[in-house]
Symmetry: C2
Subunit: 323 residues, 2 copies
């Protein structure tokens, strides 16, 4: 038991989550931030184990992410992809020359028997990252997107098919047998966190896989740390990615209200506070009727200062756990 917990837990997918994580890392003391990252997007490609969300977190926290592109490394080169294209190989998933080293190294460690959590910690250390980056599980979980064109592995839907097929639902293969990150669960059990932030990531394909791991949502509910969710939908739009398109296709309408309703219905009693953008302030009353506190601020993170401001706001919004 930690007498006075100082650490912060953030649940995150890729880009949007990584932005808030970077802000949190900036405003917290070194090592106080733990990020639990979705691995439902992970897949084997060209014989390499690719972990898109983990890598986005690592590259972002290391200050090396290509922010304009939204994935991969800044200053990247593409000689291998160009040569692979000349050979007629698969190039729909773009792996940069420097990024390739991450996949080669990680795949080698995994083949040698290391767990993804240990490999991720080692990568973070080698990249000079003080925060703790945890894969949500060391077990294989594969997000499947149910679409009008059939069931698609996530990266086929997301990258190859550019999110074009209309979605009707999602499933997470392997999740029933997956054990949530062991170290993280121990820390949760020990009361190590003073707050839990759910980053502005896609609720359906980034956060749901984490929260649906057996025992994880229950452990969050049982803890004393307040759970604060930042809406990934601002003024009816997703700042990045297909969340808004998915919501429309699922028939729920793309709004911060529907995001709040999703979390309240799927995980009753989990969320204490919902953070929405100023442009959605008119939704505050209706969201409040769901039984959660609502906090309004500017949630659009363009500059480094924006990220830090939102991080500080969320930490202050946390207050204490609702009972």
């Amino acid at each position: 038991m930690t007498a006075t917990p100082r650490d912060i837990l953030a649940l995150s997918g890729g880009v949007g989550g990584a932005k808030l994580a970077l802000g949190l890392a900036d405003v917290l003391a070194p090592g106080e931030l733990h990020v639990l990252v979705n691995t439902g997007d992970d897949f084997t490609h060209l014989g390499l184990q690719i972990c898109p969300d983990i890598d986005t977190l690592l590259y972002t926290l290391a200050g090396r992410a290509n922010q304009a592109q939204g994935w991969g490394l800044e200053g990247e080169s593409w000689a291998t992809m160009d040569a692979l294209e000349q050979l007629g190989g698969e190039t729909w998933f773009r792996l940069g020359d420097r990024d390739m080293a991450t996949h080669l190294w990680r795949s080698q460690q995994l083949r040698a028997g290391a767990q993804l959590s240990a490999v991720t910690s080692a990568l973070a250390l080698r990249m000079g990252i003080a925060s703790h980056v945890h894969p949500m599980t060391d077990d294989p979980v594969h997000t499947i997107v149910h679409t009008g064109r059939g069931d698609l592995p996530f990266q086929h839907y997301f990258v190859r098919d550019r999110c074009e097929p209309a979605v009707s639902g999602f499933s997470f293969d392997g999740i029933a047998l997956a054990q949530p990150n062991v170290e993280l669960m121990r820390r949760l059990h020990d009361g190590a966190f003073r707050a839990v932030l759910i980053c502005p990531s896609n609720p359906f394909v980034s956060i749901d896989p984490i929260l649906q791991l057996p025992g994880l949502a229950a452990a969050l509910r049982a803890g004393s740390a307040p759970v604060v969710v930042v809406s990934p939908i601002v003024a009816g739009l997703a700042l990045k990615g297909p969340a808004a398109k998915m919501m429309a296709e699922l028939g729920m309408g793309a709004s911060a209200l529907e995001v709040a309703r999703h979390y309240c219905e799927q995980y009753p009693g989990l969320m204490d506070c919902f953070v929405i953008d100023e442009s959605d302030a008119t939704l505050a009353a209706e969201i409040g009727e769901l039984g959660v506190a609502v906090a309004v601020t500017s949630t659009v993170m363009k500059s480094r200062a924006d990220k830090q401001d939102l991080a500080r706001f969320c930490l202050q919004a946390c207050g204490s756990r609702q009972q």
Copy 2:
């Protein structure tokens, strides 16, 4: 049975063999050259199937080899290796960014169940190579170098340890169960070749693995095509690689005579003609006493014309099969 065989078979290791193969490809009609390539150097590294001699052949015949370096592609970049080094990964075997695509593509095809011979043909086709490049076998054969520091896998001896350990012998793991290249054996059986050239490659670690494949030397002996060997030792030196150093360590002295003796003793009745450099002309009589014809020319291939000249000389030196 081919009535008038036109094709040429060349047995080859890496650099020296590839030079003569390029000369042969230049002076023969497209498709007339078949190269049977050593795969005893092949190994799995970073999860990739690496075939150093095959790649040297492919890159050389495609006109893309880095000739100054002796391996890899010209105009290569090293972003992945640099990034892997920053991660503390294994970088003793240098894989260039463009070269990486070859390994990724081949490894993917092999994992999918394709045979190395089919994958190699496909690579040659995609690189615009008219000659036929055959791996010596589709089965795993691993050259082991016996040294004062123990038994070493070939690439550990050759690249990692830079040929420094003194050698006492060699073995080829898996060779007893390896089937020689099926298409090549069929062509040999059909009498498709008018001559067989053994390139100026390392006798111990490039040519012996090929000739010791079950049935291969016997098929060459049984055929009507003359077998011409080009000495890899010129004036007591190997132009590239550790052949001369190995010969000294094996106690046989580094000379073209000892190379000829090696082939005559190991494969009696196989060699019809031995091609030596002008600088070794004084050895001709003694080599002739081994029972082979000796042909003397300039065997040092610096320019493209040198390669073509040596190729033409070897084809003329072939004459007819000794009986």
